[in-house]
């Protein structure tokens, strides 16, 4: 197998706040091979967006990062500012959530898509940039003449497509999609995701897909990692994990999606009781035990490590 595009080794991120240290990510290790895709799922506040920021070193100054982030073989946290700027967008690019806010309202979208190319000087002349912008727009299904439009003249789905075009501008090896379809309606969401999947196939892109919607990840990702309270609690091939979860938390998440035509899930919608834990005050032992239907006394004592739970699968639960 070729060198992985992204490797996280025991990544830890702690936010220093006036109320004390808040550990948002507590020792996450994962790997995405070239052309592979990983879905990262979890509830709000489990640290999944912090991981997205940590990969390109975009976290605010209050965040303390330890562990290693290897992007295309380079340790992002060892790079000098110039080297870091060079890696950003050429090795890994982000498709932001909230397309309206990620676009500058007073700049034409063509100029915004050209921006990464001009910053990284991957094109030599404005004319070449224009041609490339037209190509990119066509590749995401927007007519090239719309390059002269301002963001407010586009629909929500078109704006999200523009952000995807922008992410592709410097031919990155890895796309980080952080809730890329949050504010879109279901039909447009499906179109945007199909587009992402097509582009991945054509360009052999690796994808880190972050969302709380488990069913999307199963469709669009090879592997799945479930996060709870800043750690990965289960990972494995996406179909297997969704169909036969090992961790009680994954089971709760998977059960929260009703199956169409299934009477029993219609009559008794299930899900997880309780709220996600406060990262600043995690419960002792397994952080999931207060909400776990299968919790035992020993769950209060030690936090379980990830262990093999099946072929290519790992889960962090003593019951595995």
């Amino acid at each position: 197998m070729s060198e992985p595009v992204l490797v996280l080794e025991d990544l830890r991120v702690t936010y220093r706040t006036s109320g004390g240290a808040v550990p948002a990510v507590r020792g996450v290790s994962l790997e995405i091979p070239a052309g592979g895709s990983l879905g990262l799922a979890g509830e709000s506040g489990c640290g999944k967006s912090t991981i997205a920021g940590a990969v390109l070193r975009l976290l605010p100054g209050t965040a303390e990062v330890s562990g290693r982030v290897l992007l295309a073989g380079k340790d992002v946290y060892e790079l000098k500012p110039g080297g870091l700027r060079a890696v950003r967008w050429t090795a890994g690019a982000i498709v932001f959530q909230g397309a309206l806010h990620a676009l500058n309202p007073v700049q034409r979208i063509g100029d915004q898509i050209a921006e990464p190319m001009l910053v990284h000087q991957t094109v030599s002349t404005p004319k070449a940039a224009k041609t490339r912008v037209a190509e990119l727009l066509e590749s995401v299904g927007i007519p090239a003449r719309r390059a002269a439009a301002y963001p407010h003249q586009l629909s929500g789905g078109q704006r999200q497509r523009v952000l995807i075009a922008m992410a592709l501008a410097c031919d990155p090896q890895l796309l980080i999609a952080d809730e890329p379809t949050t504010a879109l309606d279901v039909m447009v969401q499906a179109q945007v995701l199909e587009l992402l999947a097509d582009l991945r196939r054509q360009r052999d892109l690796a994808l880190l897909f972050i969302t709380h919607d488990l069913s999307l990840l199963t469709t669009y990702c090879d592997r799945l990692a479930i996060m709870y309270a800043g750690r990965i609690v289960e990972e494995g091939p996406s179909g297997d994990v969704f169909a036969g979860p090992s961790h009680p938390y994954t089971r709760g998440l998977a059960a929260a999606f009703p199956r169409i035509g299934d009477r029993s899930s219609r009559m008794a919608p299930s899900g997880l009781g309780g709220d996600p834990p406060d990262p600043a005050a995690l419960p002792a032992g397994c952080p999931f035990h207060p909400r776990c239907p299968l919790a035992r006394p020993e769950c209060r004592e030690a936090e379980p490590a990830l262990r093999i739970s099946g072929p290519e699968r790992r889960a962090a639960c003593i019951l595995v």
Binding site: L56, L58, L84, R85, A86, V87, R88, W89, T90, A93, I94, F96, G98, H101, A102, L103, N104, P105, V106, Q107, E115, P116, V119, H120, R145, R146, A148, A149, Y150, H152, Q153, M166, C170
Partner: protein, 301 residues
């Protein structure tokens, strides 16, 4: 309403400047103000064709054989002053001086204020605190004593009047720009620009400045009348350029030579009305620009 939303979304080729002008044209106060400014602008531009500045010398005025203290009926169109000079000529020339000083002083204010405001707001931290303390230091010094002291140190010339006004009025602009930069900096597209590897200079040029430029333009327009009034004040206090009669200078001389007690209204009324009209026109245009730049201020929306 429908028409507006159609023109907004249905015409991708229309430039931002075009839609700005369309909105401006809809405002009656903006158009009246603009018409007045254009009229005075033309007057100021053609002033050298109408008036020979040499005639402001009392010696030349005497050799021309002008009467002294002549009302408009005796020496049309606006009579003469105590030194036999034509008041009309002074009025025309004064429009040139007042507009030049107003615009140039505003430009100085804008350049310093924008530079300080953008750097303080964008960089933040200690540099921000340092620049803001300097700004406050300038803010707490009363304008007139500082301006008078500076003007007398630098000497009496039109260029120094411009510098004095610019150097004393930038702090307001710096604070205004800084606050706007602080909000723009928080927007996601600035993070996006940083995440794609852009340097600070690029982000400021491409993302910060274009998003505060509407505010800068509107405030620049509102700052011109303040600069004109400052020039008037300084000239009235005798700190203006004696050889270059501005409207403020005219008022000062009329006052100092007893035009009011002589009932020589033609000496001071034109200059006073000129200042009033130009200041009002700039304010009208500035308010309109401000409403377009910040739609929340508009009443009808």
């Amino acid at each position: 309403m429908t028409v507006r939303s159609m023109t907004r979304s249905g015409a991708p080729g229309v430039s931002a400047a075009g839609s700005f002008w369309r909105q401006f044209r809809r405002s009656r106060q903006g158009m009246i103000g603009l018409a007045i400014l254009v009229a005075f602008g033309i007057l100021a531009l053609v002033a050298p064709l109408i008036v020979d500045p040499a005639q402001f010398s009392p010696v030349v005025a005497r050799t021309l054989g002008n009467p002294q203290w002549a009302p408009p009926s005796e020496f049309p169109p606006l009579g003469t002053d105590h030194l036999r000079r034509s008041v009309w000529a002074q009025f025309v020339w004064g429009s040139r001086v007042s507009l030049t000083v107003g615009l140039a002083a505003t430009a100085v204010t804008m350049v310093i204020g924008t530079a300080v405001g953008v750097i303080a707001g964008y960089r933040g931290g200690r540099l921000d605190s340092f620049l803001m303390r300097i700004t406050e230091w300038f803010l707490v010094i009363p304008f007139l004593p500082l301006a008078i002291a500076l003007a007398s140190v630098l000497g009496r010339s039109t260029r120094n009047i411009i510098l004095v006004i610019g150097l004393t009025s930038w702090p307001w602009m710096a604070r205004l720009i800084r606050s706007q930069v602080l909000t723009v900096k928080q927007r996601l597209f600035v993070d996006r620009a940083r995440s794609l590897g852009a340097k600070s200079g690029h982000i400021i040029r491409n993302h910060i400045l274009p998003n505060v430029s509407g505010l800068i333009l509107a405030n620049a327009t509102l700052w011109v009348p303040i600069s004109i009034l400052s020039e008037t004040t300084l000239s009235f206090l005798g700190l203006g350029n004696p050889g270059n009669p501005s409207w403020g200078k005219t008022l000062e001389e009329a006052f100092a030579n007893g035009a009011m007690t002589r009932n020589a209204w033609w000496y001071f009324v034109p200059a006073g009305l000129g200042i009033l009209t130009v200041v009002l026109a700039f304010t009208m245009v500035g308010r309109t620009l401000e409403e377009i730049a910040d739609p929340k201020l508009g009443k009808e929306r």
